[in-house]
């Protein structure tokens, strides 16, 4: 397939489709933005992926069945979301158009971020963990199977790796690679860094907007500090910012740098606000997304939600909020229980 067509397909499946699918989540919602459409779309996409991959893996279905069904569901969600967005735009009439207010600081931050995207995409970082994460995707595509071949050897698994099967992010990588026509290693090492580092900054921009709603200069300065902090995170190999820059294609890195900060942001806006700003569904999908990314996400998302629940209880003494938060932890708890059973 032509390289240009492959790049366009990657842009379609990794940017346009999730962005449009975000429209279904935000239908009739008051608080929304371009960035939140993309983030919500990803939450929907990852939740759909987790809910489709796990049963199909147990049923030993082939990768192409997963690929077509996943593409079908996401295409329907994207078309529906796009229709909702158009309808809402028409209903709101030709009223005042919202312009994104920017400052010179914002553009400096944008340059720093684009530089980071370029470095992460075009330069290589060798990480031996790829032997499992990326090789699982390459193996899945090559053999048209889901988690049934050992990526280390290429022979069938004697026992499924219980630690990893509940968080099948490598299978998501395999599906995206098949949909775009790229080799999974190219998607992981060149395309995912561009997409997910960009998303990490979209998440940070949501913090900036909430923290400094009226100060466009302050938002730009905030983003500059974020970009510099992330670039200068080479002081240890353990911090999440370092993971973000060097191996964001691995589920745990994406979890640490994009989805845990997003979960915290949503938690602050939903659990810790008297009038919640987003639906509980988003928080639930964020928890499921963390489960897809890494087995660590199953536990860490739960810990974060429990801390936020305690803060919410102290502040509002609302049992309803606590109950809803507990419900949002349910996917983590169920998967945790399954892990104990299958290990």
């Amino acid at each position: 397939m032509n390289m240009v067509i492959k790049c366009l397909l990657a842009a379609l499946w990794l940017l346009a489709v999730p962005w449009a699918a975000g429209g279904t989540v935000f239908y009739k919602s008051k608080k929304k933005s371009m960035g939140m459409y993309l983030l919500a779309g990803y939450l929907l996409m990852f939740s759909v992926a987790e809910l489709m991959i796990l049963p199909m893996m147990w049923a030993k279905l082939s990768l192409h069945i997963l690929e077509y069904s996943f593409a079908g569901v996401m295409a329907v969600a994207a078309v529906a979301g796009f229709i909702f967005m158009c309808r809402e735009k028409r209903m709101s009439g030709n009223g005042e158009k919202k312009h994104m207010e920017t400052s010179v600081y914002f553009w400096i931050a944008a340059v720093l971020i684009i530089f980071q995207l370029a470095v992460a995409s075009f330069l290589a970082h060798m990480d031996a963990d790829d032997a499992f994460y990326v090789a699982t995707a390459t193996t899945s595509v090559h053999t048209d199977t889901i988690f049934s071949i050992n990526p280390y050897t290429g022979y069938a698994y004697a026992h499924l790796p219980s630690r990893y099967v509940l968080s099948p992010f490598p299978v998501f990588l395999a599906v995206v690679s098949s949909l775009c026509g790229f080799h999974p290693a190219i998607v992981a090492h060149m395309i995912f860094p561009a997409v997910f580092i960009f998303m990490a900054y979209v998440v940070l921009y949501q913090y900036a907007k909430k923290w400094f709603p009226e100060q466009k200069n302050a938002r730009g300065i905030f983003m500059i500090f974020c970009a510099v902090l992330i670039w200068f995170s080479g002081y240890s190999i353990y911090n999440s910012e370092n993971f973000q820059m060097i191996r964001i294609w691995q589920g745990k890195a994406c979890l640490a740098s994009v989805f845990l900060p997003l979960l915290l942001y949503l938690g602050c806006c939903i659990i810790l606000e008297k009038q919640r700003e987003y639906t509980w569904l988003l928080l639930l999908m964020a928890d499921i997304s963390c489960c897809l990314l890494s087995s660590m996400g199953i536990i860490l998302a739960c810990i974060m939600l429990v801390v936020l629940m305690v803060m919410g209880l102290v502040r509002f003494r609302s049992l309803e909020k606590a109950a809803c938060t507990a419900l949002c932890c349910l996917p983590s708890l169920i998967l945790g229980a399954i892990y104990i059973v299958i290990r």
Partner: protein, 257 residues
């Protein structure tokens, strides 16, 4: 209980490495308390951070979490800290106090300088390198795979490789099967485990490697030979040199082709 706290402190030091970013976090926290306490999100992030640190250092919760995720990866709990938003927000609070544009720019530059001094740049930390294959695996591994593919002519093969090569061969080309992967994972029996141990030992013995590779029916052995004698022993054991890539030698056994 004391060991858990000691371990948490060790992990805390390890997480921040040689940087001073933890002090920037503390400074920002103070900045938020003084300047940003009227802002909901700032205070929420501050109290969340305090609560999470309490949870991290508390021996009771620490023990429970370590039981769930494992002691060795307890540092991942610190991923829950909102380090970047808290520092960036706290610093921005300080800068945006000033209404003078020039002073704002100067303050921003000074605080950016503080971040630069406190951390280590990604390039300086040696995190990135240039490679000449789009799949971004080490170039020598890509070349090894291409040479094997040219030789095997689409026939199924079994490869034994050293630790470095074993980690990337199937990332580059999943059609190449291996007798074991990284750290010897996936080894089917004791012979293959011994083969892994021998190949990754400090000075591998050519006779033992060729004997074990023969028993495991390896078509190719990919490794850096330690000396000339090793090459001779491999040849005597039925593994001739197919080609070399940098320091790597690709040995092939005609019997298993």
């Amino acid at each position: 209980m004391k060991e858990i706290v000691t371990w948490a402190v060790t992990i805390w030091d390890m997480y921040w490495g040689n940087g001073w970013v933890q002090y920037l976090l503390a400074l920002s926290g103070i900045g938020i308390l003084i300047l940003g306490r009227k802002k909901g999100i700032a205070l929420r992030l501050f109290f969340y951070t305090v609560l999470l640190l309490g949870l991290f250092f508390c021996p009771v919760s620490g023990r429970v979490i370590m039981r769930c995720i494992g002691e060795s990866v307890y540092w991942r709990v610190l991923w829950l800290l909102p380090t970047v938003p808290v520092i960036a927000g706290g610093f921005t609070e300080v800068v945006s106090r000033s209404k003078n544009g020039i002073l704002q720019a100067v303050l921003t530059a000074v605080l950016v300088g503080a971040v630069v001094i406190s951390g280590t740049g990604m390039i300086k930390a040696g995190n990135f390198e240039r490679v000449y294959n789009h799949r971004q695996v080490p170039d020598e591994i890509a070349m090894i795979c291409n040479k094997i593919n040219a030789d095997r002519n689409k026939r199924e093969v079994r490869i034994a490789a050293d630790e470095y090569a074993a980690s990337y061969i199937r990332v580059y080309d999943p059609s190449l099967k291996m007798v074991y992967g990284r750290r010897g994972y996936g080894a089917a029996d004791k012979t293959i485990k011994n083969l892994y141990k021998q190949i990754t030992s400090e000075i591998p013995d050519g006779k033992t490697v060729s004997d074990l590779a023969n028993t495991a029916e390896c078509t190719y052995v990919v490794m850096v030979p330690p000396n000339e004698k090793f090459l001779q022993d491999m040849e005597n054991g039925g593994y001739r040199i197919l080609d070399t890539v940098d320091l790597y030698y690709i040995f092939v056994c005609e019997q298993y082709r």
